[in-house]
């Protein structure tokens, strides 16, 4: 989808912009040739591609500041980019804008074991923080599946989750301070090294703001003591509904598992030949249910979990006996996206969240939609918090398949909202779901979002076209929706 961000509000004088940026940046920090820009034309949402006007690669905060000051003065849009693993197109370039890659800001500034904090630059990889903290018996809790590659700056921008966030929280619960730059190039600090800060909780606002409010240059994260022991139970179910009931049963029993994941048959069949994680190929669904803590605590909790699983009709279950085995069981879940990627030229990953009790119902609906659109779909869920990742498989080279995949995805997200949930649990709205925001929010809320953005970025230069639809687009979407389904009740 070339040229999706065909937003012509910005009349940027490219030669002037290059001249001004060259004056403040080392020569290697500015890319202008098309062949150099090409690698930056998309993020993890590869269906959308757009060449940026320019790419800047600052090496430090003051270069980033200089870039923003120039862009602010010349009214050029700016798109911040980390490792570009995002799945909603949050880092898709703007045709008239500068992509600012923060990949070179990759220093771990400090790790303080006593206060259990780390100060890192935005380009530091998620997993690198945990690796650096490991000698102190600490780790950084949020663990998105892309944690080998994704960066802390991107994690903050998207408020990333992971498979352990039911117990340990999202990025917003694990970040103490964000240092950044306003679009005008002013240095701002949100939060601090304490547990709270004076004034409005702007730190909470920055998390998940998708690069629309400020550019991140440094982050203080909270580190968590590594539990003495973790064990995971894998349970097989020959019926998806029973697996869904087991999830509710575990929570109702007063257990908060360290992780609670579900995969359906298609996902299992994609993963098992690829990773050999030991998953049951005969199951309709499997649950991964983790306990961590002291050895006594884990033994007690695993006992309670397996009792619930048995009561819920699990056809089989097994408990990891060693740390190596636990990691093997998780490896399958964490490799689910690439495993599905092997089965299909392209796939779209959805990210709705629904109340847990509707998991089974949603799966049935998705099966129906899979038939309707004639496209395969594998399902992996963060079942503990109701966050779904249906992976819709398609082939972009077959005429009409991308459009069908997108319509399929949109229907899943509309259902998510109708079931009392949201169009995105952790991947962000980005460019992918911007129109669907009108499904979840009314005009008054959308207008508030625009005013809120303007409080940080008066001219709307930071990542324009993402996250929040224009009011005109909202109206178009709503009208089109009414035309499409004239009798469908909204809720």
């Amino acid at each position: 989808m070339e040229g999706k961000s065909a937003d012509r509000r910005f009349a940027v004088d490219r030669p002037a912009l290059i001249r001004r940026l060259r004056a403040v940046l080392p020569v290697q920090a500015l890319l202008v040739e098309e062949e150099d820009l090409r690698p930056y034309d998309c993020d993890g949402l590869t269906a959308y591609r757009q060449l940026p006007l320019l790419v800047a690669l600052p090496e430090n905060e003051s270069q980033a500041q200089a870039i923003l000051k120039v862009c602010h003065e010349l009214k050029a849009p700016v798109v911040a980019r980390g490792a570009a693993t995002g799945l909603s197109g949050g880092a898709t370039p703007h045709a008239d804008g500068v992509v600012v890659s923060l990949a070179r800001l990759k220093k771990i500034v400090s790790i303080d074991a006593l206060s259990r904090t780390a100060v890192v630059q935005p380009g530091v990889r998620n997993l690198a923080v945990s690796e650096a903290a490991a000698p102190y018996g600490l780790y950084y809790a949020p663990d998105p599946s892309s944690q080998i590659a994704c960066t802390i700056g991107g994690n903050v921008a998207e408020n990333s989750g992971g498979v352990h966030c039911l117990k340990y929280g999202l990025t917003v619960h694990n970040v103490l301070r964000v240092r950044g730059l306003t679009m005008a190039g002013e240095i701002v600090e949100f939060g601090n090294a304490a547990l709270d800060a004076a004034g409005y909780d702007l730190l909470a606002l920055l998390n998940g703001s998708e690069g629309l409010l400020a550019m991140i240059t440094e982050v203080t994260v909270r580190l968590t003591p590594k539990p003495q022991l973790a064990q995971v139970v894998i349970a097989s179910f020959d019926d998806v509904r029973r697996a869904g009931d087991a999830v509710a049963g575990i929570i109702a029993a007063g257990i908060i598992p360290a992780g609670l994941e579900m995969m359906d048959r298609k996902a299992i069949h994609a993963v098992e030949p690829y990773v050999n994680a030991g998953y049951d190929m005969d199951a309709e669904a499997i649950l991964l249910c983790e306990s961590d803590g002291t050895p006594e605590e884990v033994a007690e909790e695993i006992g309670r979990m397996t009792a619930v699983l048995e009561r819920s009709g699990a056809s089989a279950y097994c408990v990891s006996r060693t740390e190596a085995e636990r990691l093997k069981f998780w490896a399958g879940r964490k490799a689910a996206f690439p495993a599905v990627g092997r089965l299909t030229p392209d796939y779209l990953c959805m990210d709705g969240t629904i109340p847990r009790k509707r998991l089974a119902e949603m799966l049935q609906e998705i099966t129906g939609l899979s038939g309707k659109y004639d496209l395969r779909c594998a399902n992996v869920f963060h079942a503990g918090d109701g966050n779904l990742h249906p992976l819709i498989m398609y082939d972009a080279n077959q005429p009409g398949q991308l459009e069908r995949a997108m319509a399929f995805g949109a229907e899943i997200l509309e259902l998510s909202v109708r079931f009392g949930g949201t169009i995105t649990g952790e991947h962000g709205v980005g460019i992918e779901k911007v129109n669907l925001m009108a499904e979840q929010f009314g005009m008054a809320e959308i207008e508030t979002f625009h005013r809120l953005k303007a409080a940080f970025d008066e001219h709307g230069l930071l990542n324009p076209g993402k996250g929040v639809p224009t009011l005109a687009r909202c109206r178009e979407y709503t009208q089109a929706r009414v035309a499409r389904a004239p009798t469908a009740p909204r809720f």
Binding site: L114, S115, R116, Y136, G137, L138, N159, L166, V172, H173, I187, V188, E189, N192, A193, A194, L195, D196, A198, G199, Y200, D201, L202, A204, L205, N207, G208, S209, L213, P225, K226, A248, I251, G254, G293, T294, E296, E297, E300, T353, P355, R356, H382, D385, T422, H427, G428, V429, M437, Q440, F441, A444, E445, T448, F449, L452, K453, A454, A455, F456
Partner: protein, 353 residues
């Protein structure tokens, strides 16, 4: 209930049209917190009641006027609770007041603050529009996180109508231990313990005594109790409740009460009589020189709040740590985004906001 909202809309429109101000009040238990109230009283306590509660979803939705005690009792009947232990400061405390002040109790150090548990809000803005943000699910990144922004905003951005909160199971077992330690040694211990996987859920140091609470699975609490080997505290619930509600002797009397929010490793500050909570991250002071206190808090990387004090002192030194210029500007613009005529709770947070 909807007629209440219609009435308030009329009041808001009248105030907005005439330069009037409204002072939003729920149970009135936390009026002392923040700058002095000005403007006409807008009583919102009648907008009450639990809207939805499903224990297996770990979410409760309640109208802002719902009593905190009523809510806690409903949750406790299902073995769940608001585990950040919000203080009541009076029997009339409401859900709305809890959100507006953003205050959390002893267990904050282990589980997070009010803002960490807010999933969704419905509010009435300064134009009288009912807005809905967030939702009733654990993970939701659609739109800016307005629900968390509202935690601690002291009613300056709108009238909160409804709040959805994450709830958690109450701990199965608890045990409190006591240690005789001076301030520096207590801070050292708290931070060292904080780096280990111990089920510490609350801590308080005052006058040479450190009290620690362990909460969690019975096995984990028992193992930690054996390892830490402190003196077991009888009547521990009374102790932690009196700390949460500021009924201990330290908090009594008329001297100004300062709250310092500091990095937990900050050494003793010698600013006056001190009570320490949250593993070293929250420190209370009675009296003292406002400028010295603010300077020390800033130097340590935190901030100081005049938590209780008379209006004259609040006006003189400000309730909250001053903001940097860019942050102050963002605050003003955010206020305008929600309340363009400046109707709600003017001056409760900062003068002019």
């Amino acid at each position: 209930m909807e007629t209440l909202i219609d009435d308030w809309r009329v009041r808001i429109a009248a105030a907005a049209g005439s330069g009037g101000k409204l002072a939003i009040r729920g149970g009135g238990s936390k009026c002392f917190y923040g700058g002095p109230e000005t403007g006409e009283r807008l009583d919102v306590a009648a907008y009450r009641g639990i809207v939805a509660y499903e224990p297996s979803e770990l979410v409760v939705t309640a109208r802002a006027g719902t009593g905190l005690r009523e809510l806690a009792a409903t949750l406790a009947a299902k073995g769940q609770g608001l585990v950040f232990e919000p203080p009541h400061f009076g029997a009339a405390a409401t859900v709305g007041g809890m959100l507006a002040t953003g205050l959390s109790g002893p267990r904050r150090q282990a589980v997070g603050a009010v803002r960490d548990f807010v999933l969704g809000v419905k509010l009435l803005n300064g134009s009288g529009e009912v807005l809905s943000f967030g939702g009733q699910v654990m993970k939701n990144v659609a739109g800016y996180d307005v629900p968390r922004l509202l935690a601690g905003s002291l009613g300056t951005l709108g009238v909160v109508l409804e709040v959805s909160l994450k709830v958690l199971p109450l701990p199965v077992a608890e045990k409190s231990l006591r240690f005789a330690l001076d301030e520096a040694a207590a801070l050292q211990k708290l931070n060292q313990w904080g780096g280990r996987p111990l089920p510490i859920s609350a801590s308080a140091w005052h006058d040479g005594l450190l009290t620690l609470r362990l909460s969690g699975a019975a096995a984990a609490v028992a193992a930690a109790e054996r390892e830490l080997a402190g003196e077991v505290l009888a009547d521990a619930d009374v102790f932690w409740d009196s700390l949460r509600e500021q009924k201990q002797a330290f908090f009594l009397g008329d001297a100004p009460l300062w709250r310092l929010s500091l990095p937990s490793v900050t050494p003793p500050q010698a600013l006056g009589e001190t009570l320490i909570e949250w593993g070293g991250a929250q420190r209370w002071l009675r009296g003292g020189d406002a400028r010295r206190i603010r300077a020390a808090a800033a130097k340590a990387g935190g901030h100081a709040t005049l938590f209780r004090g008379d209006d004259a002192l609040k006006t003189e030194v400000g309730v909250f740590q001053p903001l940097t210029a860019p942050l102050a500007r963002i605050h003003r613009h955010l206020k305008q985004a929600f309340d363009p005529q400046g109707v709600f709770n003017p001056g409760r947070m900062y003068p002019g906001l």
